[in-house]
Structure formats: structure tokens, C-alpha cells
Symmetry: C2
Subunit: 405 residues, 2 copies
Amino acid sequence: MRSRRIRGSAAAMVVAGVAFDGCASAWARWRPRVRRTAAIVAARAPVHTYGRSGPEPPTAVHCCSVPTLADVARLAGVGVGTASRAISGKGYVDPVTRDRVLVAARELGYRRNAAARALRERRSRAVGLLVPDLSNEFYTSAAEVLQAELDAAGFQLVVALTGADPADERHAWETMLDRQVDGVVHVPVDPAAPLPDGPPIVQLNRRSRRVSVPAIVSDDITGVRELTEQVLAAGHRDIVAIAGPPRLSTTRDRVEGYRRAVRKAGLGEPADVGRTGPDRARLISADLTTGGGRDAMHRLAADPPTAVVALSSRLLLGALKACAELGIPIPDELSVVGLGDPEWFAIWRPSITTFAPPLAEMGREAGKAILAAISADGAAERPARPHVLRLPGRLQLRESIQPPG
Amino acid sequence: MRSRRIRGSAAAMVVAGVAFDGCASAWARWRPRVRRTAAIVAARAPVHTYGRSGPEPPTAVHCCSVPTLADVARLAGVGVGTASRAISGKGYVDPVTRDRVLVAARELGYRRNAAARALRERRSRAVGLLVPDLSNEFYTSAAEVLQAELDAAGFQLVVALTGADPADERHAWETMLDRQVDGVVHVPVDPAAPLPDGPPIVQLNRRSRRVSVPAIVSDDITGVRELTEQVLAAGHRDIVAIAGPPRLSTTRDRVEGYRRAVRKAGLGEPADVGRTGPDRARLISADLTTGGGRDAMHRLAADPPTAVVALSSRLLLGALKACAELGIPIPDELSVVGLGDPEWFAIWRPSITTFAPPLAEMGREAGKAILAAISADGAAERPARPHVLRLPGRLQLRESIQPPG
DNA sequence: TTGAAAGCGTTACCAA
DNA sequence: TTGGTAACGCTTTCAA
């Protein structure tokens, strides 16, 4: 029903800008969308002698609108089935025929319609990424690699932001499910929220509680332990960790690493800020924001430690801000270490000793994992014991640690 | 042809984990994809007396796989057309009937299939975002708002990375065109590259040359002019701007702002670094990277100015690094101002005076623009004179400027 | 090796 | 107001 015309003209030509009158048909009127640039192509047919009997294939196909497989098939003088096989590369097709189809496709500027393919194949070749925001280097560094990984496999990345609010997160899930993505890479905001049934899910960086989906996380336990050990090795016996909200798995891992280090060093269990005494490892919880870190540091000012372990880059930024406000020189009066490694950490004076999670590898592994889950499909069910992949990060030893006093 | 069964059971139940044998049919076999979680729902029909004659609607619909509109229609006891109208909300449908459909849809957990809709409506309700990378706060800040804007309009954001390489950029375009996105928000990498015919395009931050697509950019001309005026007002008469590659429109705008300020101040035309003399405004071009800024600063060390205008946050970072290496105290010996406003600018000592482009508004306007272009469709052609929307940014006056000497 | 045809789930037309 | 039906463009049988 779509309007196509055979023209005798041999040269390929492209006329841009206006809809071509001859193309008006019942279906052109159906949704009267005038293409911004009507691709009007008259193409010479390849100079073959065709093995098939029947009418000669057209020497030109004139086609408004976006060319379809049928257009290609007509130009190549084959059936749509053959054209499909030639282009997708699966199924038998004579090499000569295939070439003819491929030439025709190129000539018309044919592109397979993703929606039709998705409908027919029951897979969208799209993967959703659910992240709280894009202003966090944690997510974007990983997302960048994830996108590359997916792209290489022919999948596309659809991004939805979950914000800080569980309602936003639910909404983001809705849009993903509506879009029928084949899989979702998920950075949970609310670790207590249930995960929807539907496409395979891989969690990134953080993980939900009581849910059996694979997760790709940084080995913060080891990382923060080693980071804290650096602080302790410099001789500090009065230290504080500023951590995020305990409901996040990342916070728990980081605190656990801190705990292991201070226990081994004989500072006992990390305890709340109130604690006093010569040897002590304290712990303070804050919002994962600059303001949170700043407030925490200000609270500490009354009874300052000799070293601070800020368990996120934003917390560190806030702590540094507070130190500037309070006139506390770093590292002379206070040693400071961080987590994450934004570019400015290395340039800061003093440069910041930190544990850098392997964000790129996390993105890459998340990509591999979700692709594996997608191709496994129903075959590999959500395992009873979810696989948590802990990737080792890197300690960046710089100048922000000095011995106390 | 799809397998659905009527069951007498009244209670809604969901059986998870295994494919339900009774669901095996020709089409279940067709693509033997065992759903990870088969949603098996037996739902009580709403307790209405139906106004229609004919057979009573089923009291339950048993359906494997994802429920379709036909399932909903069957459960509600209406035709698919009616169900479609009820759910989409367009077209006539009796309120009572509509409620029945809606209840049935909820009961089954129905979701409209995006692929089918896209195929039928010839629009994917997806917008592509083509950016060089995601590690740049410029793009991500804008992308975040853009996503929100699109989401509110029922569109989804598909991200592709163009990298730094024109080949990557072409590939990214391919994936977008394949996916048949309804529009593209584009940050050009290669301003000389032609834009593909196809969906409407809005450029963000930078614009291509000789191409008539609308662009949303920061008013860097004004911003950098005012920024430079601040430097000049402090008494500096020997200043240098470190700019990016001249092929980028952003570089040209920023340099233009610099030029206007220095001309008005009687420093003449900005000239290359070689220039000597007491009153001079020099200009140096660098890669838009930390390394580029660092190298530029090192080159300046032989004949240092009293103030540096770094025309990107990365260039500034590099310049700061070089100053640390060279032992140049800021702002005492060298005033430094920047462009962009990553979080650490305000915390740095001295805090960085800078021109902050309106990234959020740019994202929002890009969203509005692409949505407008999409709904206008063919109606509003690419205008002969492309509309460039220059949004004013904000000058952040901080501590990094001191009078010279 | 090929072509014809069914069908993916939806929307929109049209006749009732 | 409603239901039936014909596409949308593609993949995959199935018979030739």
C-alpha cells in the first residue's frame, strides 16, 4: 500500500526539502507526516544476469519515506524473506543474491527498523541504566564503560534517573518496564525496595537487601581497610571515619573495612563520636553530600582527631571545606584520606591519599553480566545465592597523611 | 494463537519460577524462551452487570507470558479497539466500559508494548543524546535535566558516546538512526562533520559549522567578557587566555568574549604568546585536557603574565597543577580565573573566580527544543537561519584574583 | 536456495 | 459508542 514508483532514470539522485507529490497515497495521508527530508532515490540496478526467470528486476526504485525491507527486496529483485536473510546474515542465501541485496540496501540507505525487529523478535536490544543522578563520577565513569560494552554487543543504553526519592525510583522502573528493555543495570537508591519481576537485573556499586540479583561492587572492605592501615601506619591513634547512611551496602562495606583495620591495630571497635580517650577509632554518619561532610567535620572540631577517613569524595570535599573554615591545616594538624578519585584529588594541596574503586572495570563487568543474563534468558534463573562480584580498587598514596603532632 | 485459558479459580495468584506446562503452544515453541518468571494470573472479573448483550465476559483470564491488549480486552469483555481507546485515553469510550478495561489492565499487570506502539505510530518516543563522554560535568549536568524534561513528556533518553574520534561519532549516529529515535540532542565532536538526514536535531553546548540546526549554547561571549573584565578591573595589564582548539564554536565564543574585554581595555587584539611589552593580552591554544592546561602554563613560565584566564575547567586544573609544580603562588604572584564551576572550585584555596555556564538551563532548553521539533515534525522545517539560543551564565566572584605585584 | 505468508502488539479507520 | 480489521516492518517457518 505504500507508495513506490518505478522510474526509468538511471542516475541516483537525492532531492531534499519537500515532500514529493507523487508520493501522496492513502497511507501517506494516514499519518500525514511530511518527512523533513524526503529521500528520493532512483538507483541503477546492479548489472547482473539474473538466474531467476520472471520479470526483470526494476532498474530503479523510487521511494518516499524511509526505505523498508520490501523496497530493498524489490530493488534487488528478490523476495523479502531472501532480503531479510541476506541482511541479517542468518539462513541460506546465495552469495551473488546476497551481494545484490546488500548493494540495493546501500543504494537506498536502508536501515532495519528497530521497532519492527523488537516486536518480532521479542527483544528490544536495549538495556536500562537506573542511577540516582549523573552528577556523580561514580555512576558516570561506570556508565561510560558500560555503554561501550553494550554498544559492542549491539545493545543500546537507556538512562533513567532514580533521584534520591523512592517514588522517583519506582517511576524510573516503570519507564524501563514500559520500554521493555532486555535488561537493567541498577544502582539502588532504596536498598529495601523490592525489585520488579521482569527483565534480568544486575546491580552496580550498591546492592539491595534480601534480593537475589547479581551485583558488581568495589571491594571497599579491603580498600578501606588498607586505606585506614596507611593512616594507622603513620602513627595515628585517634582517628575518625565519616561514613554515609548505614542503610547503604557501600557504607556498610566501607565501615567494615575501617573496623577491621582499627581492630587489628588494637583500637577496639569503632564507636560513636562521643567516645574519649587517648587511643580511639570513632565513626560518624552523615549525608552523602558536601554539606554532610562539612557538618560532620564541624561537629568534630570540639574534640578533633589527628586523622580523618572520609568515606566518599563528597564527604571529603565537605570535610576540606570545614577545615578551611576552621583554619585547620592539612596535613600538619590533621591527616585526611578519601575514597574515590576525582581528577582534583591529585592536584589538591596536599594531594589526597585515597582508595579509588575500579569504576571502569565495574562498568565493564556490569555490562558483561547483564549481557550474559540476557542471553542466558530463562536458562539461568536468578541464583539462590546471588553472585556478588567484588572488584579490587587501587590505593593512591599521596601527601595528605602526616604523622600526628 | 497465543495460549490463554479460562480458569474457574477466583483468587488472583502468581506462580513464579517455572514455565507453566499448560502454556506450551505452537507459539510458545516458536521462540522457546522460558520466561524467567512466568506471570500466571487468574483474576476475578470486576463485579459489574454488563450493558452489552452477548456472552458473559470471562470471570478469569489465564495468561502466560506478558499480557497483551487482547488479554485485557478479553478479561474486560470488550474488543481490542475499545480497550486500546480506553487505555490510551483517545477516542470515544463509555466511562463505565473504560473503568472495566482499566481494572482488567491493572489486574493483569498490563503494559503497552513499546515496540508495537513505535511500529504502529511511527515514533519511538525515544530521544538520543550524543555526547563525547560522560566524565565531563558539562554534559552530565545538562543531561540530567534533559532526561527529566524528556521523561516528563513520556520520552526516553538513549545515550551514545561519540568519543573524541570522528569515526566514533559516525558510529554513534548509526546506532541512533538504527534505533529510529524521534530526535537527537547532539554535542558535536567534529564541527565540520555533516549531520545526517533523519530525525530533528538540536545541538547542545557546541554547534557544527555550516549546518542549520537549532543550538542551545551558553553565552560564553558575554560570560568570558565579564570574567576578563574582572581581571582587568583588578589592574592586570599583562594577561593570557588559555583556550581550547579554535575549531570548536565554544572556543571561538570564549575567545571572542576575551577579545572584546581586552580591546575595550585598550590592550589591543589578543595575540599569540610570543608578544612582549608592558600591556599585552596574549592567547594560547591547548588541548581541552588537564595535560593541555599544564603544558600551556609551563610554556608561559619563561615569560609569565600576571593573570591567566583558563577557558575550561580542565584547562584550569592543568594550569593549577603546573603552578604547583613551578611553585607559583596563587593569587599572590598569579591571578587565575576559570570557566565552568565544578564543586571543588569553591573549596579550592584560593577559591576560583569563574564563569559558570547555565548547564541545567541548557539541558532544559535542549529538551524543550527537541520536543518542539519532534511535535512540529515536518511542519517546521529546518529554518534557513538556525536558531541559536544563547543562555546567560553566572559569574562567580571568589578569591583567585588579586591586584598584580 | 528461494518466495509467500503468518504473526509480533498496537493504533486507527470504518461500518454497525 | 463499539468491534473488527488492516496495516506498521520485520523474522521465520514451510513448501516449492
